[in-house]
């Protein structure tokens, strides 16, 4: 056990820090307030800049434009990005989830065709996985793909698609064999979102925004050349994509949460409670301390998991405790914020009395989704119960 950075890790971080110092945009705080469709070209430009410095996909192998970074270096990358409050990259699903899946399962022709434009943000990718009747039970998805000559004809609906509105391409999971067992009849197709018959609708969520879309496919024709991996092996391809979802990206959460709690501590010094600053109120102190301790424990858990993955090579089902931990912690954190802010906590952006431009009311609502998105807490507990503890499958 040695929590000091190795020489290689330090060198990686120093190089990144130097690059960020001269390249990170100074005006992100103004842009982040704008609607995403307005700021999207800005995010594309930022990703291009990162790509020019070979920082867009550090985890990718060198031959594909990455740096073959170790997991610990990837974690450092996200920590540094959070530390300088860098904007997100436009093609975050392409870089984080879909690109690595294409590198792992794609043909040489597919890699040549798609990878460079993922890196340069020329083509934005989205993920067509969930359906109205296939959420936690993803393998039960129904979207139908029927072979017609050298094309599949795709019909059905997808939901909760991030970046659908701006997506050029989609990693789409479809059912190619309806007679096979549910995990066995799936195939992943790479689909041009400009194909005739694709319709994208915004899905308005409880925060009032539309981060996600619904996708409707009506007789959409997709060439058999666009199968990713093998026919009817789509479940394995899709699961490998989901595994990347639980990768090093979480390393940035520590700094994001810490920024929240530090701001709450600052606010507690001025907000009055029972005739004295809330920072002197024993109950508020207990709650802030509990939360800041848990933020550290989240990071200790992550570091342990990264070390284990580095040693064994594969992300394991233990990743489920990270997902449960951060999502539930974020909800507790926002509840403490609401308690501290009292009546002001409910004020939304635009209200003259809102504290911190209404970020707390927004965060309270947005974090409600944290225990649902990317695998519900219930599914994560099933994974731990069955795959980690060896209890019989409950579903």
């Amino acid at each position: 056990m040695d929590l000091n950075l190795t020489v290689e890790e330090s060198a990686f971080r120093e190089e990144l820090r130097a690059w960020l110092a001269t390249n990170v945009p100074k005006d992100w705080s103004e842009w982040r307030e704008k609607p995403i469709d307005e700021s999207f070209p800005y995010l594309r430009a930022w990703q291009r800049k990162l790509h020019e410095g070979r920082w867009a996909a550090v985890s990718w192998p060198k031959e594909y434009g990455g740096r073959s970074a170790t997991l610990m270096q990837q974690a450092l990358f996200w920590e540094e990005m959070a530390r300088v409050d860098a904007p997100p990259m436009a093609n975050s699903l392409g870089l984080g989830l879909i690109g690595p899946t294409i590198i792992a399962y794609g043909t040489e022709a597919q890699k040549k065709r798609y990878i460079p434009k993922i890196l340069s943000a020329e083509e934005i990718w989205c993920q067509g996985f969930s359906e109205p009747n296939a959420g936690s039970d993803l393998a039960g998805l129904q979207m139908e793909a029927k072979l017609d000559g050298d094309h599949y004809v795709v019909n059905g609906q997808k939901v909760w698609t991030s970046y659908g509105w701006v997506g050029d391409w989609c990693e789409l999971v479809v059912r190619t064999d309806s007679s096979a067992a549910k995990h066995k009849g799936l195939t992943v197709l790479l689909v041009d979102m400009k194909s005739p018959g694709v319709e994208v609708r915004p899905l308005r969520q409880m925060t009032g925004e539309s981060e996600f879309n619904e996708l409707f496919f009506r007789d959409v024709r997709v060439s058999v050349e666009n199968i990713l991996g093998k026919l009817n092996d789509g479940w394995n391809v899709a699961v490998s994509t989901l595994m990347y979802e639980r990768g090093s990206y979480g390393a940035r959460l520590h700094l994001i949460f810490k920024r929240y709690i530090n701001r709450l501590i600052e606010l507690a010094r001025t907000i009055q409670r029972n005739g004295r600053p809330a920072a002197e109120d024993p109950i508020i102190r207990q709650k802030l301390a509990q939360c800041s301790a848990e933020i550290e424990i989240m990071r200790f858990n992550q570091m342990r998991a990264f070390s284990r993955i580095s040693a064994t090579g594969v992300p394991g089902p233990e990743g489920s405790i990270q997902k449960i931990f951060w999502s539930e912690l974020n909800q507790r954190l926002q509840q403490i914020a609401q308690e501290l802010l009292g009546s002001f906590g409910q004020l939304m952006a635009g209200d003259a009395h809102a504290i911190d431009k209404g970020i707390w009311s927004y965060a309270y609502l947005r974090t409600r989704g944290n225990t649902i998105e990317a695998g519900t807490s219930e599914v994560q507990r099933n994974i731990i119960g069955h795959f980690v503890l060896g209890l019989p499958r409950s579903y």
């Binding site: 929590l3 000091n4 509990q290 301790a293 550290e296 424990i297 200790f300 070390s307 405790i321």
Partner: protein, 367 residues
Amino acid sequence: MQFGLSESQEFLKDSTRKFFTGECPAADMRRLMETDTAYDAALWAKLTEQGYTGIIFPEEYGGVGLGKVELMLLMEEAGRALLPGPFFSTVALAGSVVDAVGTPANKKKYLGPICRGEARATAAILEAGASWNPRDVQLSAANGKISGEKLFVSDAGVADFIVVVARNGVFAVAANARGLRITPMLGMDLTRKLYVVEFSNTPAEELGPAAGLVGALDVATAAVAAELVGGMQRTLDITVEYAKTRKQFGKPIGIFQAVQHQCADMYLETESSRSAVYYAGWALQENSPDASAAVSIAKMYASDAARTVGNRGIQIHGGMGFTWENDLHLYYRRAKASETAFGDATFHRERIASMVIDADSVSVQSA
């Protein structure tokens, strides 16, 4: 950066587990807990042979000279076995204090016998106010003598000397000193006996100033948290095994999500406690500026988690979990006693608050 155990640390943990499984199985633990002191001389000799009594102490005093992470691993396995007797009191508590505050001559005199397995010891801290804040200690020594009363002194009944925390320094009192009276307290944890220790003009040797005391108590606090991790792991293992074999409605009860999800939460709580304890061990070893914060984080989390894990484990066992013959209640008792020992979660949350709210710098480092 490598937040995993090294090969030698894995080996230590593994061999320690095998040692306790072989030398202190549940039947022996139960036999010892029914005795007055829970001490077994033969078991102590074997612990000494393994070098466990000198694990973190310098080689010049006969110790093994390993680090605090290794101590955490040893204590975790001791906690898993619910090791009865004065091991924690002697090594992690009294030994740590002597090591931190003693002069070289005192260390030779007091640490040497601990390392050689010749002396058992403990430390007397709490008084009538039962505060774990060293600033609340009232008792003080004058002219080499101590008078007053200490409460909740673990394993004092078998201690060869008692380290006494006083207002004006840290002192050692021999078990056979005059004016020393030791009477049992009837604690919930049957494997770690508690005592009232009264001093009446009792001769006491000054070990050193109290300046190093906080660091030593941090080591003891982290060691308690490490024991709790071991206890949680055992509780989880016993419970998962039960959930796989116990059948109701024709199925193993572990198939029901109401049961399975509780097991998943036990796993999350156990692993998170372990991460926090290992980090605390590392921070103590490196004398990191956030060591005290890390210890409080670990003790805070593990104190609450051990109680919760115990609750879940017993609940999943149903009526069987409520019986005397099932071991879970023994871990549950230890968890409650250890929860308050060296400060409960509320105490450590306030300690964290004083570090992160009152101090301007948020003290936990982020690498």
